[in-house]
């Protein structure tokens, strides 16, 4: 590597943006070349000075309150407790909690399948691929799956109960295409994976894995698997709503 090649790469090298092979090439060049070595050390020195200076501004505590108030004002119409049926969801959540306190929790299905669900959920959160069909209209999302899958998942509208439909996408699980329907509750994303090949058990089965709560059931020949970082009582209430729809 010569100066002409190395110079434009010095900044990405410093920022850790180069692949290993190119980085080694740059490293070797700045050891050998006096001018590029000097330039490299100057940039490093500047970065050290910026870091040491502590130039970040912190917001006044009052700003968070002010922003929250402005957010509330703009979202007044969307306040969940003012929506019809919102209290039904709360009651369902409390009932689910009671059921869970009273009944021993059924163990989660273990193994590869559960790991696949967690992986698919995490994948949808960190990548850009949360949605293929972003829509809060269940009349848009349901038809979208038709023709892409050989089964037709139900896409209930649960906005009134505080679970907002965000959209849907195709995902792959256990090597087969599945429908992923995405809901949101507050800041929590809920993935509902629907696939054919249901077992006989139509009861809800509750589990937890790697910080996520899961609820499974079978219905109408389809297997439903839902996962979220939402607390388990609310996720169970959500599952009841989907199932009962």
């Amino acid at each position: 590597m010569n100066c002409h090649e190395a110079e434009p790469l010095l900044h990405p090298y410093i920022d850790g943006e180069l692949d290993a092979a190119t980085a080694v090439g740059v490293e070797r060049h700045i050891e050998e070349c006096g001018a590029c070595g000097r330039y490299f050390r100057e940039i490093e020195e500047l970065r050290r000075e910026i870091r040491a200076a502590g130039l970040e501004f912190s917001p006044r505590p009052a700003l968070a309150r002010r922003v929250a108030a402005a957010g509330r004002a703009s979202a007044q119409s969307a306040q969940w407790w003012r929506r019809p049926f919102a209290w039904t969801a709360v009651a369902a959540a409390l009932a689910a909690l009671l059921v869970m306190l009273v009944l021993p929790t059924r163990g989660p299905r273990v193994g590869r399948s559960e790991q696949e669900i967690v992986d698919a959920h995490v994948r949808s959160l960190i990548g850009s691929h949360l949605l293929d069909v972003p829509s809060s209209d269940h009349h848009t999302v349901k038809p979208w799956f038709q023709g892409k899958l050989n089964f037709s998942p139900d896409v209930p509208d649960l906005a009134a109960q505080g679970f907002v439909l965000v959209g849907g996408r195709l995902d792959v699980m256990d090597g087969a295409p599945v429908a992923a329907i995405v809901y949101r509750r507050r800041d929590h994303v809920i993935n509902v994976f629907v696939s054919p090949g249901a077992g006989a058990d139509t009861r809800l089965s509750v589990g937890a894995s790697q910080g996520y709560n899961l609820v499974y059931w079978n219905q109408g020949g389809l297997r439903y698997r839902t996962i979220s970082d939402l607390n388990s009582a609310e996720l169970r209430a959500f599952a009841e709503l989907v199932k009962g729809h």
Binding site: P8, H11, E49, I50, A53, L55, F57, S58, A75, S128
Partner: protein, 161 residues
């Protein structure tokens, strides 16, 4: 989902508009926009998404301020407040730190925003490209230019004393 990024949003806004009052307005407006758009948010990186909104909001404000500044009547009121004159930063800073702050403050917008996102917020080139809505190659060249300008500005200032 958005609250953890309040500090980053404020710091970025503050470096863009260069005074506390406007920065707070920008952050408030950006969060309201973000809350309203949350259901349309397509996943991905919430911080990048929020900072992009902050940047657009701040740029709109700066453009408005600058077109107002073309009118002599409003000039005094609409000039960006110099950080050194801001009460928050009027604490006695070491000479070198003040020089550094002023040198960054005087970088043109496109270099200043790139430098702040990289050096103060620690964003990758890809994330910066997402915030600024430019290709990664542009991020790379702007960052190099920003650092060069900064080093030259500081050397001139410090060499002159």
């Amino acid at each position: 989902m958005l609250w953890p990024h309040l500090r980053a949003a404020y710091n970025f806004a503050r470096w863009l508009v260069r005074n506390e009052h406007d920065a707070e307005d920008v952050v408030q407006e950006s969060f309201v926009k973000a809350f309203q758009g949350l259901e349309r948010f397509r996943g991905g990186d919430a911080r990048v998404w929020l900072l992009a909104i902050v940047r657009n909001t701040a740029m709109t404000l700066l453009r408005r301020r600058r077109s107002e500044a073309a009118w002599p009547v409003d000039q005094a009121a609409s000039e960006p407040v110099d950080l050194a004159a801001d009460p928050e930063t009027a604490v006695i800073e070491s000479g070198r730190r003040r020089q550094l702050r002023a040198a960054i403050e005087h970088l043109p917008d496109e270099f200043r925003e790139t430098l702040i996102l990289r050096e103060l917020e620690g964003l990758s080139y890809k994330e910066i490209a997402g915030v600024l809505n430019v290709p990664m190659g542009t991020v790379m060249s702007r960052l190099a230019r920003a650092r060069d300008l900064l080093m030259r500005g500081l050397a001139a200032e410090r060499g002159a004393r």
